[in-house]
């Protein structure tokens, strides 16, 4: 296992220590060590099936919802191992928000989509103000301001995804996980969401899974490259972390040959 360790000297937000995630008896991703820096955008890239989404979903215990999914190793956040038996996954998800691959607004009004999360998180301030602020931060306020009481489904795909980003930031999490947030969107919506990310990284730690290498270059400070290899005797492939470094280093002077092959488009 090769893991580059030229970690920049910043505050560590989350730390993965020898994380192995399995679906049933099948290991999806294996022996991941990484320190995710606070206040930065980190991108996970790699070919399909390399386990990058699985790792992302492990960071706020979303994998709990998948039957048979288990994790070995430790994920440290705020001095706790998130997989400690005493940890409440609900509390974890309140502090580590998530934006999903497909826009998934709730079957409620736009306003309620935002207010719902804040309310269950015990928000006591001015709700109208929070809704507006969240929608503004997600760069979707102009499209929504005249129809806050309409269903979230009335928006276009790109607008729905920004609504979901607004929903995530309305609860003021410390970390936002984004699972290929632009894969279902057109280029213009993608650009808008990337602008939103630039805006957000001032106050949040963002971790994003992307298939799009240009997107990683555009938005990420740090990039982790995952790959998958066939295991002897096994039927599937198992993912592993190849290299984790500054985005610039990953794309310009990677230390591993497979990283170079991938970022230069030779495979994947």
């Amino acid at each position: 296992m090769t893991t580059s360790s030229t970690t920049v000297a910043t505050d560590v937000c989350m730390s993965l220590q020898d994380v192995t995630i399995s679906y049933g008896s099948f290991e999806a991703v294996k022996n991941v060590y990484m320190d995710l820096p606070r206040g930065r955008v980190t991108a996970f890239i790699g070919p399909s099936g390399c386990g990058k989404t699985t790792v992302l979903r492990a960071l706020n215990r979303m994998n709990d919802l998948i039957p048979g999914c288990t994790l070995k190793g430790r994920v440290i956040f705020d001095q706790h191992d998130l997989y400690d038996k005493r940890v409440d996954p609900v509390e974890v998800r309140r502090r580590i928000g998530m934006v999903f691959q497909k826009p998934n607004p709730f079957p409620k009004s736009i306003y309620e989509n935002i207010a719902f999360g804040a309310r269950i998180n015990g928000y006591r301030g001015d709700m109208d103000e929070l809704v507006e602020r969240s929608l503004r931060k997600a760069a979707v306020w102009d499209e929504c301001k005249d129809k806050l009481q309409e269903s979230g489904f009335s928006l276009s795909g790109g607008q729905q995804q920004r609504l979901c980003i607004a929903r995530a930031i309305a609860t003021e999490p410390e970390v936002i996980l984004m699972d290929e947030p632009c894969s279902a969107l057109d280029p213009i919506s993608t650009l808008k969401i990337e602008e939103t990310m630039h805006e957000l990284k001032r106050s949040y730690t963002i971790i994003i899974v992307t298939h799009n290498m240009q997107q990683a270059v555009r938005v990420a400070d740090m990039t982790a490259f995952f790959n998958a290899e066939a295991v002897e005797g096994g039927s599937g492939k198992v993912g592993y972390l190849v290299e984790f470094n500054n985005t610039e280093n990953i794309f310009n002077s990677p230390s591993q040959q497979s990283t170079l092959d991938y970022v230069s488009g030779r495979f994947g």
Binding site: H80, D88, E91, R124, K137, E172, S203
Partner: protein
């Protein structure tokens, strides 16, 4: 666009520890709801156990060869069996199946293969759902008015045939629906493949698509037969009842379900016991049919 960001967590309650706190309101609420849902699930399956328990105990102890070979006793006498009712249930169900399966499969073929989106197909589907919702007793009233009261068959009023037709009316919507939906599951490529070698529509449907949809259709038909075998309301004034062995399809006939109804409300213990015994036979048959249907549908999934 510049947005001034307030310090994080300003208006939220103070960040708590990540650890699970059982005393939190939301966690208490969660546990209460879990308990309520579990209790409801228990209550929901309780009747099955109670009914099965009593049917197996009360009916099971009466099982003997005599039960299947003898006629019910006259009121006041004891002993006897339900042989005629078992035969009758089989006969009436066979009549109902013989009518409803060809008609239902044919209708389902039309809906799925010839006109899946036409107005007529939509109308038939709507009508089929309405027919499925018609109470079973209405089917009995209908056949009474149409066949029994008019002495339609050879001047006979109540008859096994009338009972079978009443059951067929109840089975038809299920058969049509399962055929329609079973055929829709057949991949379009299979039909194109058949047309591609020059097969006619008729050959494609009878040789390719219908066999491909056989399992879902068979599952639905078995379930429909099981339901029909236990139906009582459509039979009480069409097939009526008979204390004798079946005398052909144009005479009144005993069935297990009507026997249970008649004998349950009689003030004689022998009759009550035969009602339990008939329930035992009927329930075993129907549960077996349900498990058979489940097994058939599992065959395709494997």
């Amino acid at each position: 666009m510049t947005v001034t960001l307030p310090p994080p967590s300003s208006q939220f309650q103070e960040r708590r520890t990540l650890l699970y706190q059982p005393g939190l309101k939301r966690n208490r609420f969660n546990r209460i709801c879990n308990a309520i849902a579990a209790t409801f699930a228990l209550i929901a399956i309780l009747p099955l156990f109670l009914v099965l328990f009593y049917v197996l105990i009360q009916g099971g102890r009466l099982i003997s060869p005599r039960l299947f070979t003898e006629l019910p006793p006259a009121p006041g006498l004891s002993g006897g069996g339900i042989g005629n009712a078992i035969l009758g249930t089989i006969l009436v169900t066979v009549i109902a199946t013989a009518i409803s399966v060809p008609v239902g499969v044919g209708g389902g073929v039309y809906l799925a293969e010839y006109s899946s989106r036409g107005w007529f197909a939509q109308f038939v589907r709507f009508g089929n759902d309405v027919l499925a919702g018609v109470p079973s007793i209405i089917s009995g009233v209908f056949i009474y008015g149409l066949i029994v009261a008019t002495r339609f068959f050879f001047d006979q009023s109540y008859s096994a045939m009338a009972g079978g037709i009443a059951l067929a009316v109840l089975m038809l919507p299920t058969v049509i629906k399962t055929t329609d939906e079973g055929l829709k599951l057949v991949p379009q490529e299979l039909r194109w493949g058949a047309y591609g070698v020059g097969a006619s529509r008729f050959v494609t449907i009878t040789r390719i698509t219908l066999p491909a949809a056989l399992t879902p259709i068979a599952t639905g038909v078995v379930l429909a037969i099981a339901r029909a075998a236990g139906e009582t309301a459509p039979l009480i004034f069409t097939a009526l009842f008979s204390p004798f062995w079946p005398e052909g399809v144009f005479n009144p006939i005993a069935t297990m379900s009507v026997l249970i109804y008649n004998f349950a409300i009689m003030p004689y213990e022998a009759q009550n016991e035969l009602a339990w015994a008939a329930s035992f036979v009927l329930v075993i048959l129907i549960l077996a049919a349900n498990l058979l249907a489940r097994w058939i549908s599992h065959l395709t999934k494997a």
